[in-house]
């Protein structure tokens, strides 16, 4: 004769050594507590599916904070309510691991209400076991979000009142309204029938994860004889009489059969692929530039200002990139913070032959104004003997100061003549470099094709630069 032995499942540790020096064979749970039954059911399922080695149990805050004493799996303890977020991090890192978030009602339905909803809504391929015993056990019997109306706890000593605390929250029903979850069921631990139901549900919730079907959620109505201050046997009856009428024991959603398995491709990427993706493979050697060019380069503190859409920020970026390409030090910073005045968009650009300190050009020696308000805002800040470039297509006044150099150029009209008003900024850069001769304007031709995202506009922008150069040659030759 043979016998089948029903005993402590293998996914439990033989001895619960993390528990301390004594009582290494029993749990820390009170007599009649439902956690032990659930641990048994989970370990049995993990062993049966042969996934205990791949499994990671997330212990919450609550009585099951010490769940890691028991499961012979990977174990992690999470902050109160955050188990689904922690589980998300674990699962996304190692998609082949089997991640089980084990949570109580305070953890899941109160402090962690958002984490559970959002993990469910993302359809994380994980299994959540929600132990609902309508009370905070660990902290001494306080009211839970699932505490029943009228139920007395240490923080609802006169019974839960609707006017003060509202109604008990039905998490399974809420989660089942979401599109992503694959399986949502509520079970109970009150008798042979409901325990078997719980076994089936937990198996399915784990199997779904193994099959990469997505988010599965099992809520279990479980006894807390100590918190409820009644016997274990009466606790089960109390669940039947009081909890089950309010928290119906049933499946709320099960689309396990309809869902495709979600395979995640995992592979290593070569350095070349990484550089390609990051746009770094085009970087190469330093350009050869005469030492005298660097030595003699006068620091340019530029402010480029105008309406949004006039390309003031991109003009700054192109100018900075161009100077960088000539081995100069550069910074670019957009109008930001208290510096922003008068409703203008602007950027500060510094080009220098030495290390740049502050990137802000409070007192520019080059001011480019694409519109009137910009001239009003920044004219007074320009250093004496500085340069101001005025877009006369839009700015209808002359510069008031007589201690600065001024170029009056119809930037927008020139650009319009090329059929691309937005290229006024490039007309300006061509003019600026041709007038100052600080950098050969042709250097811009190396940068513009890289800097402009719309490749069909590159040619027009290059023409705009040449038009700027031409305007200077015709009107401001020195």
């Amino acid at each position: 004769m043979k016998a089948a032995v029903l005993e402590k499942p293998k996914a439990f540790y033989d001895k619960f050594e993390r528990k301390g020096k004594t009582q290494q064979e029993t749990t820390h749970y009170c007599p009649g507590c439902g956690h032990g039954n659930l641990h048994k059911i989970i370990t049995e399922a993990l062993s049966e599916f042969g996934v205990d080695d791949r499994s990671i149990i997330v212990s919450p805050v609550g009585c099951s904070v010490f769940a890691y004493y028991y499961f012979d799996t990977g174990n992690i303890q999470a902050a109160h309510g955050r188990a689904p977020a922690v589980a998300t991090g674990l699962k996304r890192s190692n998609p082949e691991s089997i991640v089980i978030s084990y949570q109580g009602d305070g953890d899941l339905a109160a402090i962690g209400g958002d984490e559970i909803l959002q993990a469910a809504n993302r359809g994380e391929n994980m299994t959540v076991i929600f132990v609902n015993n309508a009370i905070y056990g660990m902290t001494g019997g306080q009211m839970a979000p699932t505490t029943l109306v009228g139920q007395k706890t240490t923080t609802s000593p006169y019974g839960r009142k609707i006017e003060n605390e509202g109604y008990p929250i039905r998490m399974s029903e809420i989660i089942a309204t979401l599109e992503a979850p694959v399986y949502v069921e509520r079970t109970a631990l009150v008798d042979f029938k409901t325990i078997n139901h719980t076994k089936r549900a937990i198996r399915k919730a784990i199997k779904n994860q193994i099959d990469k079907k997505g988010f599965s959620f099992v809520e279990v109505l479980a006894p807390c004889p100590t918190g409820w201050k009644i016997t274990p046997v009466d606790s089960q009856k109390w669940i039947q009489q009081h909890m089950m009428p309010y928290f119906p024991v049933q499946a709320f959603k099960d689309v396990s059969d309809q869902r495709e398995s979600m395979e995640i491709e995992q592979r290593d990427y070569s350095d070349q692929e990484v550089l390609d993706v990051l746009g770094l493979s085009q970087l190469g050697e330093k350009k050869q530039v005469p030492a005298s060019f660097i030595e003699n380069f006068p620091t340019q503190f530029m402010k480029i200002a105008g309406f949004g859409g006039q390309g003031v920020l991109s003009a700054g970026v192109v100018m900075a990139a161009c100077a960088m390409n000539e081995n100069l030090e550069v910074t670019w910073i957009p109008s930001y913070g208290p510096e922003m005045r008068g409703g203008t968009a602007n950027c500060s650009v510094i080009l220098s032959n030495s290390r740049i300190g502050s990137p802000l050009t409070t007192n520019p020696n080059v001011l480019i104004v694409m519109n009137g308000p910009s001239l009003d805002a920044f004219e007074d800040d320009v250093q004496p003997n500085g340069l101001i470039i005025v877009n006369t297509s839009i700015v209808d006044r002359r510069v008031k100061r007589d201690d600065v150099d001024v170029l009056y150029i119809p930037l927008t009209e020139i650009a319009s003549g090329l059929g691309l008003t937005a290229a006024a900024n490039m007309v300006c850069l061509g003019a600026y470099l041709e007038y100052t001769k600080l950098i050969d304007y042709k250097s811009l031709f190396e940068i513009v094709p890289l800097a402009i995202k719309k490749k069909h506009l590159v040619d027009t922008n290059l023409k705009a630069i040449k038009e700027g150069v031409k305007y200077i040659r015709e009107n401001y030759s020195r």
Binding site: K2, A3, A4, V5, C33, F192
Partner: protein, 84 residues
């Protein structure tokens, strides 16, 4: 179910309460369909009056195993017919 086939002596009981692991919650006694588990009058090492098999009537149904919250407090031996 964790099923493992082992040879056992037919005279062994069909279920066993590991007395020092029992917390005396009484759920196995409550749910045994054959009423063949009972409380002892003695206290175990944990300080609980523990449950024990009365010695007859167990059919190896396993209900007590799942009703018991303790991982290792109950072991059930279910007789299996030899395949012919």
């Amino acid at each position: 179910m964790t099923e493992e086939y082992v040879e056992i002596d037919l005279s062994l009981p069909s279920m066993k309460v590991v007395s020092n692991l029992c917390k005396g919650c009484g759920l196995c006694i409550e749910h045994c369909p054959k009423d063949c588990i009972e409380f002892t009058d003695k206290f175990n090492e944990l300080g609980y009056k523990y449950a024990k098999y009365s010695g007859e009537g167990c059919t190896g149904c396993g209900i007590c195993f799942y009703a018991c919250p303790e991982p290792g407090a109950i072991i059930v031996y279910k007789k299996v017919r030899e395949k012919k």
